[in-house]
Amino acid sequence: MSAAAEMVAEVTYRDACRMALRDALVRDTRVFLMGEDVGHYGGCYAVSKGLLEEFGPERIRDTPLSESGFTGIGIGAAMNGMRPIVEIMTVNFALLALDQIVNNAATIRHMSGGQFGVPLVIRMATGAGRQLAAQHSHSLEGWFAHVPGLKVLAPATIEDARGMLWTAIEDPDPVLIFEHVMLYNSGGPLAAGAGAVPIDKAAIRRAGQNVSLITYGGSLPKALKAAEELAGQGIEAEVVDLRTLRPLDDETICASVAKTRRAVIVDEGWCSGSLAAEISARIMEKVFWSLDAPVARVCSAEVPIPYPEHLEQAALPQVPAIVAAAKGVVG
């Protein structure tokens, strides 16, 4: 590692996302950022602040409130030689662009017999926790992870927020990046030379041998906190950060479960038909005979996310519930 790479700075997740965007815009003139309030406003979550001044309005493109339209424009531009980054303010509004993402971005390579790819990155915020009530608090990344032809990422750390975007931009296929709203203010050290990271592998964020806590995105800090509490009670939890929700890294998941023989999946999506359900099924299929207890899940309550803070928190996966689930499977 070079001296420059060793230098570390304290940055926020938001800063890391901005550094990644800036890096992509500098490296490749085919890259442009398009979305609502990405330019003059500086981004709904202040991620793109300052980029308009540096790169100009052609490359930092404010759009009207037309999610379906500008997502489709991004797909068309990608088919035609560009490397667009489309920002959909939040996953809640991405529902307006579902047709473009699922029917077009995910299918065009296949429908064209491989003639046209869609090298497009779509970024969006996801998740609850800011008292935004039922229409602005969805965690629907699992829906997108259902669809062949897409890649779905959920950076949960500063390094991944900084490094996943460039790898995604270089990918010849559409990549969706979900940034959890509660992570933007989180901070940590980042090496000055930090750069691209792989987007096809899960990561072990904490090693342990008694139970695997499998999670991603905004739930990772909660799982790590739960692991700390469990350690205080003599239970060593291994924390698996999925990082990539499609394709899932079965190998890392199953290796961890085969070692710990117990699994708790923490997923802010609703339980029914969730990523947690899919991971649970894969564990049954691949490492069933290694299990010492049924797989447990900690998901959001199956209700629309309520406005009052205490009700909202009651609806979401929390550290005590994760601890309880882990103790339940450890027995």
């Binding site: 489709g72 424009i73 068309g76 560009m82 047709d99 473009q100 491989g114 046209f116």
Partner: protein, 361 residues
């Protein structure tokens, strides 16, 4: 109306605005074959070319219908018969830097562009030599070499894609224009208006061609649209629109020339509403009971795009029967060869199921 109508804008070239002669019941004039102005610029070679290209689409589609009936083609299959003048007239105005995208009624577009009839037919039969290796079928064919971007099945959804193609053209600062086709049914989709807004806002070089064949599957324009002059659908975005007799290939060509020039010179998008008519049902499974036989027959006998050109050629002594017969024979051979090729081409290997999902899995 006069204030907001783009036709009244001083920046709007006024020449071709009144060429439209809507076919069907609404069409009172029988003078479609006598449109004078564009004829003057069309040489006999050019008109013969239009005749040939339209006839190729007609005969190709007739054969597709037969093959569908024989079970050689499956799924949804939408024939272009009746609408041939639209794509042939439009395509004649385009150059090598221009691009095309359309919906699911796409066979005619590909033939007009110059894609190989035998490979289009092989896609229809789901064979290995089809444009999408057999994976797309009737609705989903593409050609990178011919700059044809599909071939799309969701009504209205290719309009943002086409707008994105034009966005890239403008970003890359070339002189290319995108032609984005959709129908009267799609013109009621919200995505279309999101696209109109951004295309004019950013002055994108795109021609929105509304192929108004008067029926969205079984629903007539009158029963689905609060206003039926679809060329005016861009007015609130200040996009100029023209209504064109889409059964008259020369009128289409003249309107296309104007629109291409408009887009190439950086003035932004233009809308061309092509008043046209499909003779067959929406798809092969549609018996078309929502309209009368008389309505269809009237268009066929009085406004058929191919008959119009044929009459023009013969009456103007631009070609004799022998010349036209030779063209008929040439087309027949091409279609027979395409049908044979499409049945002889091997089926895709089962392993192809897993390819072209991602570039690398």
């Amino acid at each position: 109306m006069a204030k907001s109508a783009p036709r009244a804008k001083s920046t709007t070239p006024p020449k071709t605005k009144s060429q439209a002669k809507p076919p069907g019941k609404a069409l009172k004039s029988k003078t479609a074959a006598k449109v004078p102005a564009p004829t003057a610029v069309a040489t006999s070679d050019r008109i013969l070319r239009y005749y040939r290209d339209m006839l190729l689409i007609r005969r190709f589609e007739e054969r597709v219908g037969q093959m569908y009936g024989m079970g050689l083609i499956g799924g949804f299959c939408h024939l272009y018969i009746g609408q041939e003048a639209v794509v042939v007239g439009l395509q004649a105005a385009l150059g090598p830097e221009d691009q095309v995208i359309t919906g699911y009624r796409d066979h005619g577009h590909m033939l007009a562009i110059g894609m190989e009839p035998k490979r289009v037919m092989a896609e229809l039969t789901g064979r290995r030599d089809g444009y999408s290796k057999g994976k797309g079928g009737s609705m989903h064919m593409f050609s990178r070499a011919e700059r044809f971007f599909g071939g799309h099945g969701i009504v209205g959804a290719p309009v943002p894609l086409g707008t994105g193609l034009a966005f890239a053209q403008r970003y890359q600062a070339g002189r290319g224009v995108t032609v984005c086709y959709f129908g009267d049914g799609a013109s009621n989709q919200g995505q279309v208006y999101e696209s109109f807004n951004m295309a004019e806002l950013w002055k994108l070089p795109i021609i929105y061609v509304i192929e108004n064949n008067q029926y969205a599957m079984g629903t007539s324009v009158k029963r689905a649209s609060a206003t039926v002059d679809l060329y005016r659908r861009g007015e609130s975005f200040a996009i100029p629109g023209r209504q064109v007799d889409g059964m008259d290939v020369l009128a289409v060509r003249a309107a296309a020339d104007e629109a291409v020039e408009w887009c190439r010179s950086g003035k932004g998008p233009m809308i061309l509403e092509m008043k046209t008519y499909r003779y067959r049902g929406h798809s092969m499974s549609d018996p078309a009971k929502y309209r009368s036989r008389e309505e269809v027959n009237k268009v066929r006998t009085e406004h058929d795009p191919i008959d119009q050109v044929r009459n023009r050629l013969l009456e103007g002594k631009l070609a004799d029967e022998a010349r036209l017969k030779a063209i008929d024979n040439e087309i027949r051979e091409i279609v027979i060869a395409a049908a044979e090729f499409a049945q002889e081409s091997p089926e895709p290997d089962v392993a192809e199921l897993w390819t072209d999902v991602l570039e690398a899995i």
